[in-house]
Symmetry: C2
């Protein structure tokens, strides 16, 4: 399977990964969140090559994540659209993870300030229904019947490289419902 085909898998996470889950795409989106607007500045700040920046920006515009406006003949500014700005929780989640697990001998590089209360904030997730704290251990991902069927089919039919005919016929293990409790010793 090629990377562009990932977005077509019937899974929300895979779809998102297929659309924005590329390393340089994520870096460009980060930079747009930090307020960088111009091509050369995006290039300098992220370290991406000009060719790839050009390609990635075109893809982001095609996907409705970035808007390009001509602020002067031949000069452009790049903005996140509403759809792009909605990636903010993804950025925050990445930031929070790196803050917790990275090594920062000089202290954390970035903070998130809640401008309404004026204080710095960390990532805090609540259940939209009961308002209780949620995390991987008290939630589970549930596939819709259609998604599960497609997944099942993909794992049965897929021509696994090196697979013997018998294996391909039998198919692999697919669980209908999986607990988020993904660690071995939770």
């Amino acid at each position: 399977m090629r990377i562009p085909d990932i977005a077509t898998q019937n899974c929300s996470i895979a779809h998102a990964i297929g659309v924005v889950g590329d390393t340089w795409t994520l870096m460009v989106v980060r930079e747009l969140f930090l307020g960088t607007r111009r091509f050369d500045d995006l290039q300098l700040a992220t370290g991406i090559s000009p060719h790839l920046l050009s390609v990635r920006l075109r893809e982001l515009v095609a996907d409705g994540i970035v808007e390009r406006t001509e602020y002067r003949a031949g000069r452009y500014e790049h903005f996140l659209t509403k759809k792009g700005a909605d990636l903010w929780p993804v950025m925050f989640a990445l930031l929070d993870w790196a803050d917790r697990w990275g090594e920062w001998p000089q202290g954390r590089p970035v903070y998130v300030r809640h401008t309404e209360c004026g204080k710095l904030t960390k990532l805090k997730l609540r259940c939209s229904c009961c308002d209780g704290p949620i995390h991987h251990a008290n939630t589970r991902f549930e596939g819709s019947p259609g998604a599960l069927a497609e997944r099942q089919a993909r794992m049965e039919k897929a021509p696994l490289a090196g697979a013997t005919p018998a294996r391909a016929k039998r198919g692999a293990t697919v669980k209908g419902v999986t607990r988020s409790r993904a660690t071995r010793n939770p």
Copy 2:
């Protein structure tokens, strides 16, 4: 700049992107969250090639995100470590974004159930200080002095491809503090 160097940038988001922001890495992590444990199943479910899966799993183990255990001579199972399981908010944020912006004619493929209250939940972020709702428009990213200095230096010294000497000397625009209000018409 090469992709492996991204993780060394003094920015939490860039660090996280450098470590787990690769398309297939994210797909493998998703699959581990869904409970898949074995090599061939990871390959079938994600669509990754065996060579790359082998490479990516080794990297994930080296980064302390995945643990490999031999459940029978020569047979291995893969688990997310605590560090890996802590990527759950990233997965949830990607899922939520795709649910909101993807097209799902057959309905959403995946739900997240809060097992404590039994209901399905959506992504809800709260300020860890005042408990108010937070989003890109009422927060801002703030760089630490050290991180800002490093960023400044990178943008001044970087040998921008095609840059004239004057531009390299002048350096590009760097904002000290940038509002999260990244969209044009918020």
